[in-house]
């Protein structure tokens, strides 16, 4: 007969070095986000456009059945790169993405700052980069769910509905564009959100910042553009910049006559600045109380 020893018991497993030490942070972040009722609501409503566009793909294959609805206006429903770009950089989708950032991203770091829990993370074999990556990937998950996943699904369904590979043959680079653009937008929004989240302990304040800066940059652009009619002002707007870069990814003419690489540079500069600030902020808390 064996009797369980009383008192502290050792764990007989072996601590391993994980390939992705940050993975638990991401999973927990995602699970916690889904615990909020209204968050599910937002995610589902953000997926509405995806469903609409999917239906559009279906209709485009059966265009003759729906002829009576369009009265010969076939142009609307041609599935081409522009169709993808329209989905991926539509105002509504971007707005919903910002809302998701506000709801699921604002608290990522600021809650840890508020509750002093950074020290718990850094008492583990976790680097600062690992910590930030783990947090960022929560956002990555949700944003890719809205960009990459629908994009790829569109391609697959287009091929399925068409029954042949003509579509892919005409635009062989399209899957790469979808992947590239989705990753770019996601990467930008990650640095954007984490930057603001690390600025304050007050989540309400962070939420407002995330939302206001995005909207403000856009209004500023609309303002100057209206006044001077110079497309270069598009560079002021985060949204327009994202859309400009999006056009390049999909080999389309940008909506504003500014070279796309300016937009790219601006967004990249923003991202780099954000990571510098993050690096400083997260370290600052780790050391001094």
């Amino acid at each position: 007969m064996t009797i369980r020893e009383k008192g502290y018991a050792h764990w007989d497993g072996q601590l391993r070095e994980r390939r992705f030490p940050w993975a638990p942070i991401t999973w927990l972040g995602i699970r916690l986000a889904f615990k909020k009722k209204y968050f599910k609501f937002i995610i589902f409503s953000s997926l509405v456009p995806a469903v609409v566009f999917l239906v559009g793909i279906y209709i485009s294959e059966r265009i003759e059945d729906f002829q009576y609805m369009f009265k010969g206006n076939k142009q609307i429903l041609e599935v081409n790169p522009a169709y993808f770009k329209t989905y991926l950089s539509s105002d509504f989708l971007l707005f919903m993405m910002v809302m998701i950032l506000v709801v699921s991203g604002a608290g990522l770091i600021s809650d840890d700052l508020k509750h002093n829990s950074l020290q718990l993370y850094f008492a583990r074999p976790l680097t600062k980069r690992g910590y930030l990556l783990g947090k960022a990937n929560v956002i990555v998950f949700f944003l890719l769910l809205l960009t990459l996943v629908p994009g790829l699904v569109f391609i697959i369904f287009k091929l399925l509905f068409a029954g042949d590979f003509r579509f892919l043959a005409s635009y062989p680079w399209l899957p790469l564009s979808v992947i590239g653009y989705s990753l770019f937008v996601t990467g930008f929004f990650c640095s954007y959100t984490l930057l603001f989240s690390s600025l304050s302990k007050n989540r309400r304040y962070v939420s407002i910042l995330i939302f206001a800066v995005y909207l403000f940059s856009d209004i500023l652009f609309g303002f100057f553009y209206e006044n001077y009619k110079k497309p270069a002002f598009a560079l002021l707007s985060l949204k327009a910049n994202l859309q400009q870069v999006g056009s390049w990814f999909f080999r389309l003419k940008p909506a504003y006559a500014v070279p796309w690489y300016w937009s790219l540079l601006i967004l990249l500069a923003f991202g780099i600045a954000a990571s510098i600030v993050l690096n400083k902020k997260v370290r600052g808390v780790e050391v001094v109380k």
Binding site: Y38, F95, M99, R204, Y205, I208, F211, G222, N227, Y228
Partner: protein, 270 residues
């Protein structure tokens, strides 16, 4: 909020005044105020840029008054007062819970409704200060060449009035959200940038369900269709009625906020 007998009304008002004094000071000193102050001065910077550009490029550009009406004003109306009211309005109740400082306030010989009203008034004053200064500066920058035109001042006064009314109504609504919901910011954003915008495109009386509708009823009709972010078909309400409605909205939501704050038991966890 219980009905206050007239004899107590003076003491109630003086309580409100005291809360106001404390939080007006606190609101001015807080670090966040500095940020929001800068934020509400961004249009001034924009005006300066425009003006300098006009002066140096030599091109006459658009007329200052036109720019002021169509750009700066809408900047404030559609963006700044919403953000300010959202943050400060929800702060009235939420910051006491988040900072766990509620107990200091509700163990004072002051009716709970007075706390809400006093803080609301204090933050209103802070916000109004920011917005008014910003608007006036922008006004002078853009109209620097024809400051003697008296009709301009009438316009300025009307715009200031609209913004203040806007802050008042939105502030009251967000105060109510802050007193009743945990996720007040989220719902506030949905309301101010979702609902308020969407509903303006609906025909008929539907648009009367938005606060923005009444505010815009005071403004001269804009040449619509020019700006992507402000196209809508306004079917204005008469100014008198709009004024009444705005006051009614503010009063109703403040009353609700006071009611919630007095009756609700907030748990201080998290």
């Amino acid at each position: 909020m219980t009905s206050i007998p007239p004899t107590d009304f003076r003491s109630f008002l003086s309580s409100v005044g005291r809360v106001f004094a404390v939080f007006f000071r606190q609101g001015r000193k807080a670090r966040r105020t500095r940020f929001f102050f800068l934020f509400s001065f961004l249009p001034v910077a924009v005006s300066l840029v425009i003006k300098f550009n006009q002066v140096f490029s030599g091109k006459p550009g658009r007329e200052g008054g036109y720019l002021f009406t169509n750009l700066i004003m809408l900047f404030y109306l559609q963006m700044i007062i919403l953000i300010l009211a959202l943050f400060y309005g929800t702060s009235v109740c939420s910051e006491e819970l988040e900072g766990k400082t509620l107990a200091y306030l509700i163990t004072r010989p002051i009716p709970k409704a007075a706390i809400v009203l006093g803080k609301y008034a204090a933050y209103m004053a802070v916000m109004t200060g920011m917005v008014i200064l910003g608007l006036i500066f922008s006004f002078f920058v853009l109209n620097v060449d024809r400051l003697l035109d008296p009709s301009l001042y009438g316009l300025l006064g009307r715009y200031l009035g609209v913004l203040i009314l806007g802050l008042m109504a939105y502030g009251a609504f967000f105060t109510f959200l802050g007193s009743s919901l945990k996720r007040s910011i989220f719902f506030g954003l949905l309301f101010s940038f979702g609902w308020e915008n969407v509903i303006q495109y609906f025909p008929g009386s539907t648009q009367r369900l938005a606060i923005a509708h009444y505010l815009k009823s005071f403004l001269p009709a804009t040449s619509s269709g020019r700006f992507s972010f402000l196209t809508f078909r306004l079917e204005p309400t008469k100014p008198g009625l709009a004024l009444l409605m705005l006051f009614a909205i503010a009063a109703a939501f403040l009353a609700l906020a006071c009611l919630f704050f007095s009756k609700k038991e907030y748990s201080l966890e998290d």
